[in-house]
């Protein structure tokens, strides 16, 4: 079974994730929308190409709106991290058992602490790698003249780290890897670098997922004040979830680390 098939065979999981994510975003933005409406009432604003300037003026004159805006974004990040970490063992188990009876799902919860631990351990080498890449970029392209090459290098590093994290989590949930030891997180980096047939598809799906994120932002910023494109943005968000799940499914599909003794 390939990774895509695993994703398609878990339709209720996909639906659940899409609903949770879209509903959270709508809920958070509704508060901002209402607050702005109340602050402006009874006045209106003609856009005539000045959206950004007017938005800044509004936030300048109503700092509570700026705080609400920040709160919405911070809330999104926190909720997202909590949700994804909480359901990560479940997602991995569900993708691993795609097409079978989901009886194993409740037991996935017992892997949560170990997934949390391996995620925390993973952050250390991730930070070191990013620091090295940052320093290399700065040395090669000094004085802030960072360019496309530096950006690409950072993106590749992030995608590599993401693949390693997916592998580590899968080993904890599916293959009985050491639950608390840092070596589980560390070995996953080695495994990712040794298994290009896992790494490359994982990176491709990562890039696709991030591409959706970037497209969402570009479309939303460009269209702001000129007409609503929110449904296009939501569609891209759904696509991003599918790409993300497929990326995790690549790690599930990879199975145990063949290099592990």
């Amino acid at each position: 079974m390939n990774a895509l098939t695993r994703v398609w065979r878990a339709p209720r999981l996909i639906l659940l994730l899409i609903v949770v994510q879209l509903a959270t975003a709508v809920w958070l933005s509704a508060a901002v929308r209402d607050a702005i409406g109340r602050a402006l009432e009874p006045y209106s604003i003609l856009m005539d190409g000045r959206f950004l300037g007017l938005a800044i003026a509004l936030l300048r004159d109503h700092p509570e709106l700026a705080a609400g805006y920040l709160q919405a974004l911070t809330g999104s990040l926190v909720i997202s991290l909590v949700i994804w970490i909480l359901i990560s063992p479940t997602v991995i188990t569900r993708l691993a058992t795609a097409g079978q009876a989901p009886a194993t799902l409740p037991s996935a919860g017992r892997h949560l602490p170990a997934v949390l631990a391996v995620t925390l351990w993973h952050l250390v080498p991730r930070a070191i790698l990013l620091a090295i890449v940052g320093a290399a970029t700065k040395t090669l392209m000094p004085h802030g003249n960072w360019g496309l090459a530096g950006l690409a290098l950072t993106a590749v590093t992030l995608a590599f780290c993401t693949c390693a994290l997916d592998l580590a989590r899968c080993h904890v949930v599916l293959h009985g890897a050491r639950r608390w030891h840092y070596s589980t997180a560390l070995r996953a980096f080695g495994e990712a670098s040794r298994r290009p047939r896992v790494l490359l598809p994982s990176m491709v799906w990562s890039f696709a997922q991030w591409g959706c994120t970037i497209a969402m932002l570009v479309i939303a910023i460009n269209a702001a004040g000129a007409g609503s494109t929110i449904w296009v943005v939501r569609a891209l968000a759904v696509l991003g979830i599918l790409f993300g799940l497929t990326r995790i499914a690549v790690a599930v599909e990879a199975g145990p680390d063949p290099g592990r003794t």
């Binding site: 003609l46 950004l52 007017l54 938005a55 509004l58 360019g147």
Partner: protein, 713 residues
């Protein structure tokens, strides 16, 4: 002694640095075919040819300086001497000479500069290493002249030691003369001094081998007929005020130094590892110089004026952009404010860590700041801004006029210097963009315009205090100097330009500029020129509206000498049935007749056709009185713009036969002084129209939330 090329790009010293290694690589690559940087020869005269320089009045030349300075780059110290020749062109007789000793502002904690600044400038605090700077006068002598021979027995060739004393505030000193100097008389004094540079603070000082040598010599005050000697104590907001004159300056610096200075270089020689440079400048009121072995030269030219940039190697790629901004500024300023009289312009880029030396103007020389480090693909496709280095270049260029050429009393009327300079910068930006509201920041397709930026600049802090006050009256703790002096002046001038007419305003400003050259103009002169140029009460009504007149002097009084703010709001919109003549009326016999019910009873407004009346109430929420345009869009899509003279707090207007759909105050955004514009537009509340901002901002929030949540997966 051996002459060296004035076009040396890099000093030997710089080759040892990593930065310079990169440059060396670039130069080596250049040897293999890359085009060389263009070079332009040093001008032979400090002034442009007579046909190009514009009016340079001979009687404005009052104080000449011959200066010598030897830089000890290890101690960051200049040993110097000054020969100062002063002509008394006033009707006053004086018995003393006041000198500025600006560097003494950095001498100790208890100087006026340190007290008023809190030991920091532009958020750059004093550094514990090399904090103090000072200027120490060794000697003051009167040059022998027949004028000062006391009697026949005294030798007129003998120089006389003069008594001098630092004032209570050491940023000035007073030299007593042996006898008064009357109108028309000339004297020459010699001063010996040591200038110890501080670590870079407030536009001067050193950082490693970079030396910004400004305000480094004793500088004579300005004698005015009405006010006597003007030599103000140096405080944090005060800048510099001096008479025009000719300068001849001999500098002695380590050979490795690349030097940029006011004026033109007329001689250069190398002696024992030292470089001796001679500079001459004509009709300037200051002389500054900067030295750094790491400077790379970049040359350009505009109408024979040499534009020389001394830039740090890592920013050489930005030099063309700064040059383009400078050339564009030359074109705009020459047209708007008259000919630039000098033959050279030097632009200095201070190194990283010495940013407090950046963004400062001296005659024919200014320091700028670096552009935000954005690669071209980001600037072209994602994010671009015109507020960092290029605006600094434009601003400091503008000071070549609004300081270098006009030399108003910035310490007394800062709005006339910094404020009018900012006004001129924005006019130059308008010229360059070919738009009255150019883009300042662009994020993808979204833009922040000049008017947005100005509005943010003056919001709240710009109106805490009146504008027309001495620089020292603005206290640092209030933090309103920039928003008031720079931004509010620009906003009030551009508002006047928009309301009274672009052509008339631009013409008046040109008249002021022509009269102000080398003349230390007063604010009252600019005001009088504007009143004369625009008319005392020009009609400022929108086309088709009844005449409404603006009292220009009253406008300037409100804008400069009060804290009044321009603020209008749409107070109320109401569409109602048109009141007719139904009901009981007496006929010719005195008998009540009629009594029919009004036609609108039991009818909706939509069913009344023309028997409706639209009314709007607008409110002047700010104390500032100025006519404002009101645009009303009716239900049928037609519109009408009228101008409200704004003599009362609330104005009510009605349109029988029309239903009002939307009302906008100041629809063309003429009133740049009005920073709160969120209440300037409203729809008929019965229409239930959206506010225009909550949906797009809400959508953007949702999109960003979704994007952020995607990162967690």
């Amino acid at each position: 002694m051996r002459p060296v090329s004035v076009q040396r790009l890099v000093s030997i010293q710089s080759l040892v640095s990593i930065r310079a290694s990169a440059l060396l690589l670039t130069l080596c690559l250049g040897c293999s075919g890359a085009p060389e940087l263009p070079r332009f020869p040093e001008p032979t005269s400090a002034l442009r040819p007579e046909t190009q320089r514009g009016i340079v009045p001979a009687d404005a030349r009052i104080t000449d300086y011959e200066l010598e300075g030897r830089l000890d780059a290890e101690q960051h110290r200049v040993e110097g001497s000054a020969r100062v020749t002063w002509r008394n062109t006033t009707q006053r007789t004086v018995d003393s000479l006041p000198f500025h000793l600006y560097l003494n502002g950095f001498r100790a904690e208890d100087t006026a500069w340190m007290r008023t600044s809190g030991g920091a400038h532009r958020n750059h605090p004093q550094n514990s290493e090399g904090t103090w700077g000072y200027i120490d006068i060794h000697s003051v002598q009167l040059e022998a002249s027949p004028l000062f021979v006391a009697d026949d027995t005294e030798d007129p060739r003998t120089a006389v030691d003069l008594p001098w004393r630092e004032d209570d505030e050491p940023s000035t000193m007073t030299v007593d003369l042996p006898r008064p100097v009357g109108p028309g008389e000339t004297i020459t004094v010699h001063l010996g001094f040591t200038a110890q540079l501080p670590r870079v603070i407030a536009r001067t000082g050193y950082l490693d081998e970079f030396h910004a040598v400004a305000q480094w010599f004793p500088k004579l005050g300005v004698l005015e007929d009405e006010a006597g000697w003007q030599a103000h104590t140096f405080t944090v907001q005060d800048e510099f005020y001096a008479d025009f004159g000719n300068y001849k300056v001999m500098l002695d610096v380590p050979e490795r130094m690349v030097v940029g200075a006011t004026g033109v270089r007329t001689a250069e020689e190398i002696v024992d590892g030292r470089k001796r440079l001679t500079y001459e400048a004509e009709m300037v009121h200051d002389f500054a110089w900067m030295a750094d072995p790491n400077f790379v030269e970049h040359h350009g030219e505009w109408q024979g004026i040499r534009i020389r940039q001394l830039i740090q190697p890592e920013h050489i790629a930005d030099a063309d952009a700064h040059l383009a901004a400078t050339v564009s500024a030359f074109e705009s300023y020459q047209k708007r404010f008259g000919p630039y009289p000098w033959s050279s312009l030097t632009i200095i880029h201070a190194p990283e860590g010495a940013e407090d030396a950046g963004g400062m103007e001296y005659p024919t020389l200014f320091t700028t700041s670096d552009m935000a480090p954005l690669p071209p693909w980001v600037r072209n496709h994602l994010f671009d801004e015109k507020m960092s280095g290029l605006f600094t270049t434009l601003h400091e260029f503008g000071h070549q006029y609004f300081q270098g050429l006009f030399a108003s009393r910035e310490h007394l009327e800062p709005w006339l210097d910094e404020g009018m300079n900012t006004t001129s910068n924005l006019l130059a930006a308008i010229d360059r963009a070919g738009s009255e509201d150019p883009v300042v920041i662009r994020l993808l397709s979204q833009e922040i315009l000049l008017s947005d930026s100005l509005s943010n600049g003056i919001a709240r802090r710009g109106f805490l205090e009146p504008l027309d006050r001495p620089a020292s009256a603005f206290r640092r703790i209030v933090r309103n100097y920039g928003s008031t002096v720079y931004m509010r002046t620009a906003a009030l001038m551009l508002t006047l330009r928009n309301v009274a007419g672009h052509e008339a305003f631009d013409r008046a400003l040109r008249i002021y500029s022509d009269e102000a050259r080398f003349r230390h103009p007063r604010g009252s002169e600019l005001e009088a020129t504007l009143v004369a140029g625009l008319g005392e009460r020009p009609n400022v009504a929108a086309a088709g509206s009844a005449p409404v007149h603006l009292d220009v002097q009253e406008y300037l009084d409100q804008a400069l000498r009060t804290t009044h703010e321009i603020d209008f709001e749409v107070y109320s919109i109401d569409n109602r049935p048109l009141r007719g003549k139904t009901g009981w009326h007496r006929d010719d016999n005195g008998t009540l007749q009629g009594g029919e019910p009004p036609p609108y009873l039991d009818k909706k407004l939509d069913e009344l056709g023309d028997a409706v009346e639209g009314r709007v109430a607008v409110r002047r929420a700010g104390a500032f009185q100025i006519p404002v345009d009101i645009r009303v869009v009716f239900e049928d899509g037609s519109s009408e713009t009228l101008t409200w003279d704004n003599q009362e707090t609330i104005g009510v207007f009605s349109w029988p036969g029309q239903k009002i759909h939307q009302v906008t105050l100041d629809p063309e955004h003429k009133l740049l002084l009005e920073w709160d514009r969120l209440d300037n537009m409203a729809y008929d509340p019965d229409l239930g129209e959206e506010d225009g901002l909550s949906r797009p901002l809400g959508d953007l929030t949702e999109a960003m939330s979704l994007a952020v949540m995607g990162l967690g997966l």
